[in-house]
Symmetry: C2
Subunit: 406 residues, 2 copies
């Protein structure tokens, strides 16, 4: 318990503060920044995948506040945020975990925690940051304040040769009850992980062959893993984990004649609108529509290429779709009620990611080979701003700090 005695009115004091400014950029001409204080609710990070750098951006003014360098290999990087929306935790491909301070535009802390990693998550209470590792396999959990190691979960299993081995881990997300959930690619399992009195507590569930990625539904109830080794998807209901994993969408995956798969779709990108899940087909020029009550397939929406990200706008009105090579220079927008494509946009070459502003009035789209991020108004579907970026990939806004599973 903490009890506070408060005094009024505020006493003002002068404090010397080191703030970041930026040459050659008009973005710091705003009144708030001149006064030296800044809210963090409208900030974000854009990954510059080739240069190991990130851009700090402001979504109200469509501005780049600055660049932070020295983050290592960001060829497959993602970001989660601290509870106060001040710090971004950047998960690099090379096992680097970097804590970026968006207010100072500097690296607050950085550890190389493995040889090869594939993303991470922050716990519901914001105290723990977990990283999903390929080499060596397993999950490591860090104190979000200090980046000190809290728990090392090697994700061991017994392979076909009867040897104990460490599994690659994928699809790591946070879940209600201050848990983490992840999948073991080699072991074919889903694990839940809680930190109770500083000690890790793990539960294991068989999950099918070679889960390669996963998502959690926005309410944190259903954890769904895609399988590389068989058709269908594996779903764990976290309200009843003791019931184990069930198979959903049995036809999903490689079961039908299809085109060569250029890129396995990102499961994080699933859209859920109006009781329907909009799912990227694997190796087909289609977005699949599933009824979430029984997970039956109710529709297939033809699109212009193999979808990678299928994302619902915050009002569930639109489904935005990005595509795999070689048809990755466009984005298509689907009306979620008519299920028809309402617009095909050309944001640039090699579109890699999309991020909606939290209330959904705009969406930011990165085009790697055009070195550009384009901001669209979601109502008019017209571009409203462009920002220069070096080979931009993932875009992550601080509102993720307040969203389960992101």
């Amino acid at each position: 318990m903490s009890f506070n005695i408060i005094a009024t009115p505020f006493r003002l004091s002068l404090v010397l503060v080191v703030l970041f400014s930026l040459a050659g950029c008009q973005s710091l001409s705003g009144k708030s920044e001149q006064a030296g204080l800044m809210g963090t609710g409208d900030l974000g990070l854009i990954i510059e995948r080739a240069s190991g750098s990130v851009l700090v951006v402001n979504t109200t003014r469509h501005d780049v506040l600055g660049r932070v360098e020295g983050l290592g290999d960001l060829s497959h990087a993602s970001v989660v945020y601290s509870r106060d929306a001040r710090y971004g935790y950047v998960f690099g491909r090379d096992g680097g975990l970097t804590k970026v301070d968006l207010l100072t535009g500097a690296i607050a802390d950085r550890v190389i925690q493995s040889g090869n990693s594939i993303g991470g998550a922050i716990s519901q209470d914001g105290r723990y940051v977990a990283v999903s590792n390929y080499e060596p396999g397993g999950v490591k959990v860090f104190d979000s304040e200090t980046l000190e190691l809290v728990a090392d979960i090697p994700a061991t299993w017994t392979n076909e040769q009867g040897e104990t081995a460490r599994s690659k881990t994928v699809g790591l997300v946070d879940a209600p009850g201050n848990q983490f959930v992840f999948s073991l690619f080699d072991a074919g399992e889903i694990w839940t992980l809680g930190i109770v009195d500083g000690e890790p507590e793990v539960s294991r569930y068989p999950a099918g062959k070679a889960p390669y990625d996963a998502l959690i539904t926005p309410d944190g109830r259903y954890y769904i893993a895609g399988l590389f080794g068989e058709d269908g998807l594996s779903m764990l209901d976290l309200w009843e984990p003791e019931a184990g994993v069930t198979e959903i969408l049995p036809g999903y995956g490689k079961g039908e004649q299809q085109l060569p798969v250029y890129k396995m779709p990102h499961l994080e990108g699933w859209a859920i609108a109006d009781g329907r899940a909009f799912v990227p087909a694997v190796g087909h020029h289609q977005v699949l529509v599933a009824d979430m009550n029984d997970w039956s397939l109710v529709d297939r929406i033809p699109v212009q290429g193999q979808p990678v990200f299928v994302m619902a706008s915050p009002d569930n009105r639109q489904i935005w779709v990005s595509f795999a090579h070689p048809k990755n220079d466009v984005v298509q927008v689907i009306d979620s009620s008519t299920r028809e494509i309402v617009r095909t946009l050309e944001p640039g070459k090699a579109v890699l990611h999309m991020e909606f502003t939290p209330r959904g009035e705009e969406v930011w789209v990165s085009a790697r080979d055009s070195n550009r991020v384009t901001v669209y108004n979601t109502r008019t579907l017209e571009p409203v701003a462009e920002l220069n970026a070096e080979k931009p990939s993932g875009i992550f806004f601080t509102s993720r700090a307040h969203t389960l599973g992101l």
Copy 2:
């Protein structure tokens, strides 16, 4: 379009910043605050209804950062937040609209915009703040940056005497497409309001007798108004507003034999979990459960008093219920899947409001006549902190900046 040329690395400069500190409070001992910078993602405001003041709080450390005074009559007050989560717009009962800077703990701006008001909203893009007025009736829209008047909507109608009159307005919310939606108590209408090129655009829909409050569903699709003058609720589907208002839950309201109504329930407090709406009954010791597909009543959950707020935890797992006088010293927690009461808590005398932390690990509960706010862990249902406050009522966290309709 704005194009930015950015330079790297950051150039550091020293800036003198006036920050707020606070005597007699340990809350500023954290490292971040000593350095003078602070993220705004884990902040909030608590209304002190009797003294015209608000507390600035930090939800990570369960701390009161300070008190801001001079906000007028806060006997029925609410708050919305700027896009950057730095400023709270406090709507007072006396027509006062106060912009509070959470970083400096000071009033940034304040206008008395009417004689009597009842809440407000901020537009999806964050540019406009609208206030719902009783006296004189209507809605006023302000620039969120400057608090300059942008539009004055008198909400006129022709009364039974054939005179043009101004209607009291209620249930004002923001909606996708950068709209506001509100109800006219006297005129019995629902209006949608957009600001297009600086000019207001209004559409009017008949809505039944005497709408007294309203809510919008979390995706911003359905606007639902409660009626004082007849049974049932009026719903406008904002995806098809041209279809007009339909009546839902026809038995809702005064139609059945019931107890004296001590307080009309807050509609904002509706919980929506798993396709079901959990609705406070009017004048009954019940929480109603409606199927959102056809809005049929599927269950009635007995509770210990007349519910005022019925709120779902962010993971939809729990429904928290507060009550009207005279049984307003407890809060009951319902399991949303079994629909059974799992715990009855006693947070203090005259419980007025509850606010979940954005990812739902905790909930803050105000008890006016105990001068106390209690923080509960939603997993253990045990208190984890208590904070002193003068006659606390509404609790509003900055994560509302990122949520449609809040």
